[in-house]
Each structure stands twice: as structure tokens, then as C-alpha cells.
């Protein structure tokens, strides 16, 4: 067996085009993803990050910005940012600086967010976005910086008042900024999906979009075919259109809808001879449209400056190397290895690597067995059933050893695929050892040719009319196979029955 390549070969997809009245248009999309660091305490305070706590239960006096309180950085959060950077093959900056981003809002008690502006902790990296077997888009990552999350304002509890919960205030976020290398709504969703998978492999973010652990701002502009390639020649943005930013999206489907709407809105304006105003927009999921949140004139003036409460963050190369040495196998490498080591298709490998637990389950089932057969049973039967019953793999009633047992029984010819499905049902609802169940319940496949021949002879003898028809019309041989399977309770080896029926009837 040859060593697995680091990544499977791929070709870049073509950009999605939208036909306008004046010709074709393309989309250019960049994303800023906020990923919550999977830490117990906050970035600069020792309050809990627990989701769903009672309002303001996770607020220390630092988070409430009481006078005299000072931020002290959480070393674990630094490590997670470095891990994430290494996971996307990015350069790590051994010296980075925290800045204050100034604005006033009731859920930001400090009056500023501590972020990193000029000197982020992570530099340029890349994410390979899987589009389909053999097709992927390499999206360049510009930077990742650490910053504080803001609190939550609730506006619908009182007509005159807003309610503020500071539990999220100060929670560590990694802002992952992509270059505008995403070329369509589907690619945008796949980018987010792949990034989420990488973060989950690294264990640096749980990727839970419903709970807001991962949210994205999406920048969209449109251009004519060829303009994007001209931009890429020397990163000259003048070839691209004016962009609009759609804020705070936390659903793949909404992101796709918002991009589609926004691109068409911009094209309509441009084709009418208008110009795009650079602005921040919000997506209305009910109306499926984007609308102005604030224009460039109203844009915030954040007046960034280095936070005088915090020294520059300096880390050692040796520490970074230690973190690098402890990285797990990442999705691209795992996919390549599943293909080369277990012989599964790239499509199946892509399904299997979507969650680290899924891949681990498959490997446990496939170890020492037929990889393709194992993949079929893990994906189609087990994942299919788990999906249907909305169960996570951790709650699967069938473990890898049991499913491996089923695969063994099929592989040894002890049971047919059809009986295996019955066995799967028994394991799912009653549990137990697959080999024992097959033995005790007499589910073993009949491969004894003598027994099969006897059954075939009986069916042929009982149906002389059908025999005549089948001789004239060989497709009817299938009817005999079905009858034999019926009288043997589905336990006869189907291939053997088929062969024997054809031999006895003298048809091909």
C-alpha cells in the first residue's frame, strides 16, 4: 500500500454565473467567521462561558467593566488560536498586540471591545473547500485574531426598554477572515461547513451555529467574467465591484439565500446604470431579502489604539512547535488516507470525515475488514438510521464492534445482505452479539448447494406453466429466484439460487 497523499488531487470549480440583461455576472465573496473558543472561562476574566445560564450569572466585575478592574489573558485561549492557525496552515505571529475598538452600546460595558487590529496572532493560511469528488476551492485566509464577544440585548420584552444580559460579554472569539475567494452561494456554505469541521477536529470551537458559537459576516460584490482573475494577478481590488457586508449570519441556508438575493440586487442596480453603495446590510429571513443596516457615512469610527492595560502578546516558537506536534489528523489528510487505506470512494470518504466521531466509528468498523462494505454499512444503514431518528452517533444503539460483526458475517457468506438488514434491525432494537443472534435464530444463509437445488427443483416442478414462459422470455427467471428465496425464508444465497435457476431452466 502506498502512503496516503496529504490531500487528494482536485480541480478548482468554475465560478457561478448569473445571467443579466447586459451579459453574465460573477459573484465575489469573502467571509469573516466568528468562532467561539471552547474554553471554560472568558478571554480576560475568570467568569464561566456556560451557554444557557441565568441572565448575568456569568458576569465578573471585569466583564461588567467596574472601575479598577484589569484584564488578564486566558492562556488556554491563546493556545486555541495558535492551534486553529496551525490547522489552517497559517503563519503564527510570535508577537501580537491587543487593541481597543471603541464604540458605545449597552451590551458593551467597557465602551470598547478588546480585539487585535494591526498585529493579529495568526497570519495567512488556507482552507480547502470540498465541492465534490475531485473538485475543491482553495480559499485563502487573511488572518485570525482574538477578541471579546459582546453581551446580548433583548428588545421584545418591553415596548420602551431593552434588557441586557452580559453573560457572553468577554467570551473569547476567534475572528477568521477569508480573502474574497468564494465564488458562489453553495461555495460559501461549503466553506463554512469545512471550517466548522476543521475547528471541531482541532477541538478549538464546538461549531454550534444555533447557539451562536459560530457566526459569519458575508461580503458580497459582483463582477464581469475575467475581472476576478485580473484581481488575482496582483491583488488589485480595482478590478472588483463595490462590496456590501451582510452581518451576523448563523445558518448555512440563510447565508446562501442572502448571497443570492444580494448579488441579484447589485446586478439590477448596475444594469440600471446605478452604483453600489458600500454598506452594512441585514438579512431578513422571513422576506428573504437584505436591507440597509447602516451606510458608509454612518459607518462606525472605531478609533483603534493599543490597549494600555495589556502588554503585547509574545509567545515562543518552541511552544508553537509543541502545539503543532500535538495536532490531530485533519480532515483533508484523513480523507486521503481513508481512500488509500480502506479503498472507499472519495464521496464516501467525504461523508465519513464530516465529523471526527463519524470517521473514528468507521475506522473501528473497517479495521481488518472490507473497507467498501464497511463504508456502505456505516453510511447507508447506520448514519441513515441515526439521521432518521435524529440521534447523534454517541447515542447509537449499535456500536462499532457490533456493526463490524455484521460486516464479518456478510463477508464470510454467513448471511446475505437482505438478512443482514434484518439482523441490523434486531441489533438496533434489542442489542446483542451478531454472530450469536444469527446462530440462535437460524438466520444463517443456506450455501449448501444440495439444499438450494432441492428448493429450486420443487419450485420448477410446481410451476410448469411458468417454466414454459421463462424459456421463451429469460427475464422471467427472476420470478423463480423470488419463489426460491420465499420458500427458504430469504436465507438461500441469492447468487447461488440465481445461477442454479438459470442452469435448470437452460436460459442465460
Amino acid at each position: 500500500m502506498s502512503a496516503a497523499p496529504a490531500v487528494l488531487d482536485y480541480e478548482e470549480p468554475t465560478a457561478k454565473t448569473i445571467a443579466g440583461v447586459t451579459g453574465d455576472w460573477e459573484m465575489v465573496i469573502g467571509m469573516e467567521v466568528h468562532a467561539q473558543v471552547l474554553s471554560k472561562s472568558k478571554l480576560f476574566s475568570s467568569a464561566s462561558t456556560q451557554f444557557g445560564s441565568a441572565p448575568n450569572a456569568n458576569v465578573s466585575l471585569v466583564d461588567a467593566a467596574m472601575p479598577g478592574m484589569l484584564p488578564v489573558i486566558n492562556e488556554f485561549c491563546i493556545e486555541q488560536a495558535v492551534r486553529t492557525g496551525l490547522g489552517i496552515k497559517a503563519g503564527i505571529n510570535l508577537r501580537s498586540v491587543f487593541d481597543r475598538k471603541n464604540y458605545f452600546y449597552p451590551d458593551l460595558p467597557q465602551g470598547y471591545q478588546i480585539s487585535q487590529f494591526k498585529h493579529p496572532i495568526v497570519g495567512e493560511g488556507e482552507v480547502l473547500v470540498d465541492i465534490g469528488p475531485g473538485v475543491a476551492r482553495k480559499v485563502r485566509i487573511e488572518r485570525i485574531h482574538l477578541e471579546q464577544d459582546a453581551g446580548k440585548s433583548i428588545h421584545d420584552m418591553d415596548p420602551e426598554k431593552s434588557f441586557v444580559d452580559l453573560n457572553r460579554t468577554g467570551v473569547a472569539l476567534m475572528e477568521i477572515v477569508s480573502r474574497p475567494d468564494i465564488r458562489g452561494p453553495d461555495e460559501a456554505a461549503e466553506f463554512l461547513r469545512k471550517l466548522r469541521t476543521i475547528l471541531r477536529y482541532l477541538g478549538t470551537c464546538d461549531g454550534n451555529m444555533q447557539e451562536g458559537s459560530m457566526r459569519a459576516d458575508v461580503n458580497v460584490s459582483v463582477c464581469r467574467p475575467g475581472d476576478y482573475e485580473r484581481y488575482r494577478e496582483n491583488d488589485d481590488f480595482s478590478h472588483l465591484g463595490t462590496r456590501c457586508e451582510i452581518k451576523n449570519m448563523n445558518s448555512m441556508r440563510f447565508i446562501q439565500q442572502a448571497i443570492e438575493f444580494e448579488a441579484r440586487r447589485q446586478i439590477a442596480i448596475l444594469e440600471d446604470g446605478g452604483e453600489i453603495d458600500q454598506e452594512t446590510r441585514l438579512f431578513d429571513a422571513k422576506k428573504v431579502e437584505t436591507r440597509t443596516m447602516r451606510s458608509k457615512e454612518e459607518a462606525h469610527d472605531y478609533r483603534y489604539f493599543p490597549d494600555p492595560d495589556l502588554l503585547p502578546l509574545e509567545i515562543d516558537q518552541a511552544w508553537v512547535d509543541d502545539i503543532a506536534a500535538g495536532l490531530p489528523e485533519l480532515p483533508d489528510a484523513k480523507k486521503a488516507r481513508l481512500v488509500s487505506e480502506f479503498g472507499v470512494t472519495e464521496y464516501d470518504a467525504a461523508v465519513l470525515i464530516s465529523e471526527p466521531e463519524h470517521a473514528a466509528f468507521f475506522e473501528a468498523v473497517a479495521e481488518g475488514r472490507d473497507g467498501k462494505l464497511a463504508a456502505n454499512w456505516v453510511i447507508n444503514e447506520l448514519f441513515g438510521r441515526l439521521n432518521k431518528e435524529e440521534k447523534p452517533i454517541a447515542d447509537s444503539p449499535i456500536d462499532a464492534t457490533q456493526l463490524g460483526g455484521v460486516v464479518d458475517l456478510i463477508g464470510q457468506g454467513d448471511i446475505s445482505g437482505k438478512i443482514a438488514k434484518d439482523l441490523f434491525e434486531i441489533l438496533w432494537s434489542e442489542g446483542g452479539d451478531p454472530a450469536e443472534i444469527v446462530e440462535k435464530r437460524g438466520m444463517r444463509q443456506v450455501t449448501d448447494l444440495g439444499a438450494i437445488e432441492k428448493a429450486v427443483d420443487e419450485v420448477i416442478a410446481a410451476n410448469p406453466g411458468q417454466v414454459e414462459k421463462a424459456k421463451a422470455k429469460p427475464q422471467l427467471a427472476g420470478w423463480f429466484v423470488g419463489q426460491v428465496m420465499k420458500v427458504t425464508g430469504g436465507k438461500a444465497n441469492p447468487q447461488a439460487v440465481q445461477q442454479m435457476v438459470r442452469d435448470k431452466l437452460g436460459v442465460e
Binding site: S39, K40, S41, S45, S46, A47, S48, A54, P55, N56, A57, N58, V59, S60, L61, V62, D63, A64, M66, V72, I73, N74, E75, F76, C77, I78, N102, F104, Y105, P106, S153, I154, H155, M157, D158, P159, E160, K161, S162, F163, V164, D165, L166, M293, R294, D301, R303, P306, L310, L311, P312, L313, E314
Partner: protein
Amino acid sequence: MSVDADTVRRVAKLARIAVTEAEVKDLAGELNDILTWVEQLGEVDVEGVEPMTSVTPMRLKRRQDVVTGGGDASRPLANAPETQEGFFVVPKIVE
């Protein structure tokens, strides 16, 4: 650098400091004086000199990822002018 009346009004608005029209002219002058004074630093040649971030050599202090703070909503809420059901209550703020 010269600070004009509009810049004073804008800076005051961004800092949420109430400045009356009568004060604008004097403040512009004072800010210009301060900036001119600071600008003298520009005369020093700092080519090749790293910015100094601390008088003594210090490393940014780190803490372990342990929860020891928070856990009592009554403390941060103690000084709030208005609270309800554990929330801070503020005048409606819909952007």
C-alpha cells in the same frame, strides 16, 4: 495637524461628551495646543528603535482557564439604575 470645529463636534459625539457650541472654539484651540506639543516627538529620529511598551522588561501576565469569577448576578447588577428578572434594563435601543 489642525483640529477644526467640526472635528471637535465629531470627537465629542463619538466620546458621548456633551459639548456646547460656545465651548467648541476654545476646545479646538486647546486640542491643537496639545497635539502641537505632542508632535514635537516627531523631531526625534527613531529609525530602527523598537516601540517601548514597558519601562521594565515584563511579559504579558497569563491565567489558567479556570472559573473563579461571576456566579452571582446580584453583584454586577448592584449599581444598575434599573433591573428586572436578572437583566440590566435600559432605554430601548434598536439600531
